[in-house]
Symmetry: C2
Subunit: 226 residues, 2 copies
DNA sequence: ACAAAAGTGTTGACATTACACCCATGC
DNA sequence: GCATGGGTGTAATGTCAACACTTTTGT
């Protein structure tokens, strides 16, 4: 055993109604104080990973309820020369949050947390650029193979919103009729009967995701695929 | 920063002609000396992850050439109470090797390295059971979505062998005609013109995998899927 | 000639794509 | 009534699953 540190870094994604965004902060400490980085912190001696992730999300977005976001480990980034102070292992996480429920704000850990569109991401410290690349790949993959879009939308959402998220993240245009048919035919996507009024035009129907139904189907061999 | 260790553990898979096997060793050190475990070691201060993985494979199988196996990180396993000596982070890897090119043997690090069928795996130390579960899931997933079976077979292989590997790992029976058609139609699987003579019956045609062809197709948008 | 494993095609069901117009709402 | 975004069906094509017999080889 020798001296080193373990940090957890989170690639936090949200969808603001236009496109997907990732949350970046400015560092409050050396090295590279004030540089743009992924929100992260060293793991405390008795904290586990999930607690550390929750702490990071809480600090960067001010959210109270820690249990309402999705997070999965991507992998560990280890490189003898990635950190000037010595070896630091970074365990990277991807987190999905609902834009409207999280409000980036300064904290003891970070300053200036801000949402960035994918093509506006500045140069980041350490190897955080690599982590962003891996997390985006994972995001695309997860979106295609798991019902996790719902983590980015309000509990009640419209099909146009759903399609817009997919188009933004997968970076393709999708056929409206085919997309809608496919999604509507999934039994775990339920019509709430309510309408959405966000503009002066025709309101969209609101749907909600029923996780129990999905779980039951999955247990019987169903595989989600967009 | 505080005192801890980083270990690398490898789930090493091979196919022996019958079914897929995973390599386990007996520990040479405390704690739990002599218990069955995944081959692994603490990372040395100036080694990177790939070098550590290579060292582990070399020690457990005696292979000389370190560059002929496939390895990918699964994820980091971190748990404050996973190791009795204090916090140890285990970074887990999945490795695929060719059975005939690797010969398990005792070394300075491990004793009694041995191939185990999936249903014969003994109780392992620490959380290595969890690592095995994750690595198997990853193996199945990778087999379905990437052309990596070839890492388990000789450079020249027959279609019956190929099918057998898939059947063993996916734990299903596959239709011979459908399987063969699908694989033979992949342009990166090339007929060598040679025949295999392993028994007294009709010999099978030998094929080989052309990675360059696959890469070119992938660059043009092709996605592998079994 | 026989035992064992290698090899080969067709059909029906299902899923995916392509494509253009009407509808509901607020101003 | 008009501007804007929400909503709908069908036909053609491609993909996947089911299925049984012939060929080659060594003994």
């Amino acid at each position: 055993m020798f001296q080193l540190g373990i940090s957890v870094n989170c690639a936090v994604y949200a969808y603001d109604g236009e496109s997907h965004k990732v949350l970046l902060i400015r560092r409050k400490r050396a090295p590279f104080e004030n540089a743009w980085a992924l929100p992260g912190k060293l793991i405390a001696p008795n904290d586990d990973l999930d607690a550390t992730v929750a702490r990071i999300i809480k600090a960067s977005t001010g959210i109270k309820d820690e249990d309402i976001f999705y997070s999965r480990q991507i992998r560990a980034f280890v490189d003898t020369d990635r950190h000037p102070f010595g070896r630091v292992v970074s365990i990277a996480y991807i987190c999905l949050v609902r834009y409207t429920e999280f409000e980036p704000q300064d904290s003891d850990l970070f300053s200036m947390p801000k949402w960035f569109a994918e093509d506006k991401i500045p140069k980041l410290v350490f190897d955080h650029d690599d982590i962003i690349v891996s997390s985006k790949r994972r995001l695309v993959d997860s979106l295609r193979t798991k019902p996790i879009v719902f983590q980015l939308l309000n509990k009640e959402f419209s099909l146009p919103e759903l399609q817009s998220v997919y188009e933004s993240i997968l970076d393709t245009e999708l056929d409206k009729r085919n997309f809608r048919r496919k999604l509507r035919d999934m039994p775990f996507i339920e019509d709430t009967g309510f309408l959405q009024k966000v503009h002066q035009y025709r309101p969209a129907r609101l749907y909600k995701y029923n996780h129990e139904t999905f779980r039951a189907m999955k247990a019987k061999g169903y595989v989600f695929s967009l």
